[in-house]
Symmetry: C2
Subunit: 142 residues, 2 copies
DNA sequence: TAGTAATACTTGTATATACAAGTTTAATAT
DNA sequence: ATATTAAACTTGTATATACAAGTATTACTA
């Protein structure tokens, strides 16, 4: 059944989460070559581009809860892609050489992902959509 | 940090999941008076309006995997809001009296939810957004 | 009519993410 | 200088959801 044929196709909750799940699926597929989930991959990219970045900053950039960031970092540490140093109440996250070596691969995944969805949806429509979602997300922030 | 200020504000994965999480949050809050998560609530509403509906239909209507539907039904059975009967390979789901009694309350939650987000985002913009998301979700379907 | 394929779930297991509570450190106020 | 509050994580625990594999039933095919 198409999303638009559902009896709840007029409901923001329904439409939004259905759409998000589909995008998520494409993303998961796009980052499989790197062996990472999309979220982990984005975190790693920031760490590579901004070595020493703090979890709090990562939470802001990725719009995720600090606890989620901690979990992501744990996973990436297990894979020896980042390391954490703690001094006082501050924590810094750095990429390992193995992590740094993934930069190009990760960028390719980004590109693959973009190609995958914009090919189906159209670049302009995607751009408009992303902009609207950002605008609305900001309005909803408290 | 605002979503639009993130270094990934141009990325569909990022923007879409951030927006979806915010909408989800409002939804969770809206359905709290009913003691249900939004997904469970929508499933229950369909069951009330369409007694005997099958899990496969529910999966189509809610755009969720059959296994997820099974889990939802289990939860609602625990709460004595629905019952399941199985005959052959077919399963039917019915609301209990306790479930049926929630219809009005659930509709109020829907209304509260709509008021909560459309108040911030504007009704027209929301309608456009929902329509776009449905359209794009359909395009992404295989 | 016997064997195979398809349907319609259900179960086992895994992941992403969240919230609330806990811990340590730093900043502020008296 | 001490006491209080705030900041910056981390940990325990819970939920939504998925995928893959399993089970039972029905439909199709030769």
């Amino acid at each position: 059944m198409k999303t638009s044929e559902s009896r709840y196709s007029g409901c923001m909750y329904f439409s939004c989460s259905a759409f998000a799940r589909k995008i998520e699926k494409i993303a998961v597929e796009s980052w499989k070559p790197a062996g990472l989930s999309p979220g982990h991959a984005y975190l790693l990219m920031i760490v590579i581009e901004e070595p020493g970045v703090q979890p709090g900053i990562l939470a802001g950039q990725l719009q995720l809860q600090p606890s989620t960031i901690t979990r992501f970092i744990e996973k990436l540490e297990e894979k020896k892609l980042v390391v954490r140093t703690t001094e006082g109440k501050l924590t810094n996250v750095y990429p390992t050489p193995k992590g740094k070596a993934m930069h190009l691969k990760l960028k390719e995944c980004v590109k693959h992902f973009y190609t995958a969805y914009s090919g189906v949806l159209g670049k302009d429509e995607c751009a408009r959509m992303v902009q609207s979602m950002n605008k609305l997300a900001d309005k909803l922030a408290k």
